[in-house]
Symmetry: C2
Subunit: 130 residues, 2 copies
């Protein structure tokens, strides 16, 4: 049948308003949106902690630009720095990535179904609340 009432829409259900202050989770997802920053995280993972210059060598951009990327990673909690002499060792902080993983978790059955060609299972899940 039709829906119970006409679209009263934003009165009854919880309406999402994008808050001015960024939630921690938002910062993490936003940080991952840049290919440069994802590559930095990968480098920190496979090569371990290293100074800025060593990381920056992989990117064709001016140093201050790269510095900004590091700042975004720091503020998302994805990297930390340790001062060693006049250099700063950057280190991967992976815990926030765990939150991303947890966000993805509930979706897993869907792509699993799709990848296994089990569209039937998918459909049954989807039609379940109708």
């Amino acid at each position: 049948m039709n829906t119970t009432h006409t679209e009263r829409a934003d009165a009854d259900p919880p309406v999402m308003r994008v808050s001015a202050v960024q939630q921690p989770e938002d910062r993490v997802f936003a940080a991952l949106a840049s290919p440069v920053r994802r590559e930095v995280l990968r480098l920190l993972r496979v090569q371990g902690p290293q100074p800025v210059a060593e990381l920056a060598a992989h990117f064709a951009m001016a140093r201050p630009s790269f510095s900004e990327h590091l700042k975004v990673l720091r503020e998302a909690g994805l990297a930390s720095e340790t001062k060693v002499g006049r250099q700063r060792l950057y280190q991967l902080e992976a815990v926030p990535l765990h939150e991303v993983q947890e966000w993805l978790g509930p979706f897993e059955q869907f792509w699993r179904a799709k990848l296994a060609g089990l569209s039937a299972l998918l459909d049954s899940l989807e039609d379940d609340e109708s």
Copy 2:
């Protein structure tokens, strides 16, 4: 004279240049960067396929703005639409999320170590690059 001939930097190792054309993976991560779009994906997951109006009811924004968000999700391959009469049913397409999951995979041991308080293990992995 700011020529940087003292830096071996971008000669030897592969230098990352952010390509003008967005890779498919970039689109997916970029799509996930918005809290609005993540919430849309969640709604499609827990409530199944539904028309635009039903989805839009959860957000305090004008319809065309919401329409743009749907476009981003479509172009990232995260949602598909099916015309049904004069409405369009949007459906979750979860497969691209699998790629995100796979990107996260190699980081898992790091947050596992951290969450278990096994910093020792973490350090041994990091120093492994010899």
